[in-house]
């Protein structure tokens, strides 16, 4: 059975034809005697990973603990879309997460995973990250293929325009962009700003911890970035309102950064195709899930400044799993081709 795997900074998401599994990509190291800590965690049904005399709580539980106990440091196996170079315990945790999401392969199973495009604003190579993930997935017995994250969004959102248009994946660690023409990628790149960048800056401006900001962003019923609601929030003048206002400001700055860099990259690249007809922009990824996101995007978008004529801006259906589903489509087609 073909599988698609979205290897995100914040979530790992695996998709098969009948199941979607999500795992928060975070962990927390528990101090204390290993056997005692393990017994306690088992009793409470909290998932953990043990490696080299350390016990790590993994996933949503770790995230919840970090919010409750502000002294606990939430660790991230990935940062800015790539393996976190400062996190020594990242690999065993990633290995365990991938193992749980995919399981062992049956004969001839294909797994397509996503990789980020080369970032334009940091000096990092993608190849090591790519090789580590490939090695881990292969270890579970899969035939492994990769596709770029934004292209996976294109496979889900640009099929009605013959895979022509602009695909944007807005993740926690980075945003990936692909300009596609008839299924070919004319231009692709990533910027190392995403949801985490919004959270960090909001946290610094408001004095609220980053884990708390992330939680408000993901769970708050009052968070709505659409302009009409924004005014109401502003008048309330509460602590939460300050956070929400800051979130909106930084979302605007993030979209502006993305669109400005897309314009600059497009103008600087040779042999980009001409788009005689207007094409859509399709957006997916967890950072785009916040209510009213399209309003902020439309506010920042200026057709007169943009190098490609745009017909519409679409927020893809089930944006959180779109990358995993794009990878799944590719894996299914590879398996069908192999059978033929």
């Amino acid at each position: 059975m073909a599988k698609g795997l979205d290897c995100g900074t914040s979530f790992y998401i695996a998709a098969t034809e009948d199941t979607v599994k999500k795992q928060r990509n975070a962990f927390l190291t528990v101090d204390g005697q290993v056997s005692q800590v393990k017994r306690m965690l088992k009793r409470q049904g909290i998932p953990f990973v043990e490696k080299a005399g350390k016990v790590h709580i993994v996933g949503q539980h770790a995230f919840n603990y970090a919010q409750i106990f502000s002294t606990s440091e939430l660790k991230r196996p990935m940062k800015s879309g790539l393996l976190n170079p400062t996190e020594k315990d990242a690999l065993p945790v990633l290995n365990a997460i991938i193992g749980e999401l995919l399981g062992d392969a049956k004969e001839g199973e294909t797994c397509v995973y996503c990789i980020p495009s080369k970032p334009i604003d940091v000096q990092r190579e993608v190849s090591y990250h790519e090789d580590v993930l490939r090695t881990i997935i292969e270890q579970y017995g899969y035939s492994v293929k990769k596709i770029e994250e934004a292209v996976a969004i294109g496979y889900e959102g640009l099929v009605d325009t013959q895979l022509t248009g602009v695909a944007i994946s807005m993740g926690a660690g980075m945003c990936n962009i692909a300009v596609m023409y008839q299924g070919m990628t004319a231009l692709s790149f990533s910027v190392s700003r995403g949801g985490d960048w919004v959270d960090e800056n909001v946290s610094m401006d408001t004095g609220v911890s980053q884990a708390k900001v992330t939680s408000i962003k993901e769970n708050s019923n009052t968070l709505d970035l659409s302009s009409a609601n924004y005014q109401n929030i502003y008048e309330e003048d509460t602590d939460e309102a300050n956070v929400l206002i800051a979130i909106r400001s930084y979302y605007g700055a993030l979209v502006n950064y993305l669109l400005t860099n897309l314009k600059v990259q497009f103008e600087g690249v040779e042999n980009v195709p001409n788009f005689p007809e207007a094409v859509p922009i399709v957006i997916g990824g967890g950072t785009s899930l916040v209510k009213g996101f399209l309003d902020v995007f439309n506010e920042q978008f200026d057709q007169n400044e943009f190098p490609i004529p745009i017909s519409e801006i679409i927020h893809i259906e089930d944006a959180h799993t779109a990358v995993a589903r794009g990878c799944l489509s590719e894996a299914q087609l590879i398996e069908e081709d192999d059978e033929e």
């Binding site: 034809e17 795992q23 043990e50 996933g59 690999l91 259906e317 087609l333 069908e336």
Partner: protein, 100 residues
């Protein structure tokens, strides 16, 4: 006495010959215009010329990385969220597009 007279005559004759030759040379001899140039010429040092060279492009070589898998000793991870049901994809449309 005879020897000294002979010597005097010979000496006079020689002086007369020398005198006449001197007058003749002054009248008819024109010095050559050609100037002798010293053969030791100052050598001018060679000037380095930047020859246009084609800079060869770099060749990327595949790097064989040894990645330590670092398997966990024990793991009790369960997925945070499992959504059961048919997962909708655009596979059929993609297939049509690829097969033209």
């Amino acid at each position: 006495m005879e020897i000294s007279n002979t010597f005097i005559y010979a000496s006079l004759i020689l002086w007369q010959i020398g005198f006449i030759v001197g007058i003749l040379l002054k009248l008819f001899y024109k010095p050559n215009e050609k100037k002798f140039v010293p053969t030791a010429v100052k050598s001018i040092p060679a000037v380095e010329v930047m020859t246009p060279k084609v800079q060869p492009g770099h060749i990327d070589v595949e790097m064989k990385k040894k990645i330590a898998l670092q398997k966990p000793t024990t793991s009790s991870i369960k997925s945070d969220e499992v959504i059961k049901g048919k997962v909708s994809t655009q596979k059929e449309k993609l297939k049509q597009l690829r097969r033209g």
